[in-house]
């Protein structure tokens, strides 16, 4: 999947299997990613688990779980709010489009979550106060979660090199000679992928490039919508409107970047 971190780093990652996205004193989010084609390094999210931890007199612990073709508009126990506590309504699930789009408001921690199913796969987006993001007791364990640290370097896919996906302002380029990721059957010529993505994503930013990559990798046109809705979620959730579109990819592992002079 493509990941945009809390610090606005944009990466495309393999991260096959179960990986933590968020893990702090209030919230735990974990995703399970599966290859989009047998043997492909490109994966997409097939399962999502969100745990809202018990919080004072506001909410009991609540678990939300979504899988492919199963996007419930309720927590695992069937409820739609934070339980029996005084402030239970400070956690609420709202169904936007049945089976396709769910929004969860966790007002007690100032957090909004959007979960969607686009095509066969899930997308996740969250807005959370920085203070809550960093609220952890044990800083060491915080290193592993992707929304804060990004993907480990060996899990990152440089998708421009793989498919010759055009950078901003460049025309379509022919695929690089060597390609570590097996490409999809030729169902999507370059020009068609580019045209399809440009329809929904006129700005040639990283969301547009991710769209082209996904079409070339899977041949599945639904991924056009995945990139489109991801950008729509950014528009709704990101507080800095100047940072909606990203153009620069990040390659280094944020931890290393932090260590760099």
């Amino acid at each position: 999947p493509h990941l945009r971190t809390f610090t606005d780093r944009f990466q495309t990652c393999k991260v096959q299997g179960a990986w933590p996205l968020i893990d702090n004193n209030y919230l735990n989010v974990q995703v399970t990613n599966t290859p989009v084609l047998p043997g492909s390094a490109a994966t997409a999210t097939s399962k999502l688990t969100i745990i809202f931890k018990n919080f004072q007199e506001c909410v009991d612990q609540k678990v939300y779980q979504a899988e492919m073709d199963e996007l419930p508009a309720a927590f695992a126990d069937g409820s739609k709010n934070g339980g029996d506590k005084h402030g239970a309504n400070s956690l609420k699930i709202t169904e936007k489009v049945s089976g396709q789009h769910v929004e969860i408001q966790a007002r007690y921690i100032g957090t909004t979550i959007v979960v969607r199913q686009v095509g066969r796969y899930l997308t996740f987006a969250i807005r959370m106060p920085e203070e809550v993001v960093n609220a952890v007791d044990d800083r060491d364990s915080q290193g592993l979660y992707l929304c804060l640290r990004g993907c480990p370097l060996n899990q990152q896919i440089e998708f421009q090199a793989v498919h010759g996906v055009p950078m901003e302002g460049q025309g379509a380029r022919k695929p690089a000679a060597s390609s570590p990721v097996p490409t999809a059957p030729e169902t999507f010529p370059y020009e068609t992928a580019v045209a399809k993505c440009k329809e929904k994503l006129p700005v040639e930013d990283l969301y547009y490039q991710a769209c082209v990559f996904d079409l070339l990798t899977t041949g599945d046109v639904n991924f056009t919508l995945a990139a489109y809705y991801a950008l729509e979620d950014v528009k709704m959730l990101h507080s800095n409107k100047d940072k909606l579109h990203l153009y620069q990819r990040t390659r280094e592992f944020p931890g290393q970047a932090a260590a760099a002079p």
């Binding site: 999947p1 610090t7 996205l21 007199e57 506001c58 100032g110 969250i126 807005r127 203070e131 990139a227």
Partner: protein, 118 residues
């Protein structure tokens, strides 16, 4: 750590002038003690927190306050806006992040994370 909010709530509850008589002071002190207990975990090692806890103990013994009893509410509590009255009227302020955010002078800094596609 929300000890500053506890402090300001206590001063607001006792700044009305007519709280000299003991029952008023004791209920304000019990509310103050309750507030510090709620934020104890996040205030470990915080000097302001520990001095508040000791100060409350001193004042309660000075005024012979019992530990159990009514607690006073901050005097200047803003009324919830119209609308979903069920949620607002019985949801404690601590359950509304933006209201209980301890730096009222600055809005929270929000961040975004997203995962999509393949």
């Amino acid at each position: 750590c929300k000890i500053l909010k506890c402090n300001s709530d206590f001063w607001r509850a006792t700044s009305g002038g007519h709280t000299e008589d003991t029952p008023e002071v004791c209920s304000a002190l019990r509310a103050y003690a309750y507030c510090t207990r709620r934020t104890a975990r996040t205030c470990r090692g915080d000097l302001a927190y520990h001095s508040a806890v000791h100060g409350i103990e001193d004042l309660m013994s000075q005024h012979n306050c019992s530990k159990d009893g009514p607690t006073s509410q901050p005097r200047l509590r803003t009324l919830p806006p119209a609308g979903d009255s069920q949620e607002r009227s019985d949801s404690p302020e601590i359950c509304h992040y933006e209201k209980s955010f301890h730096k009222p002078s600055a809005a929270p800094n929000y961040t975004h994370c997203g995962l999509f596609g393949d």
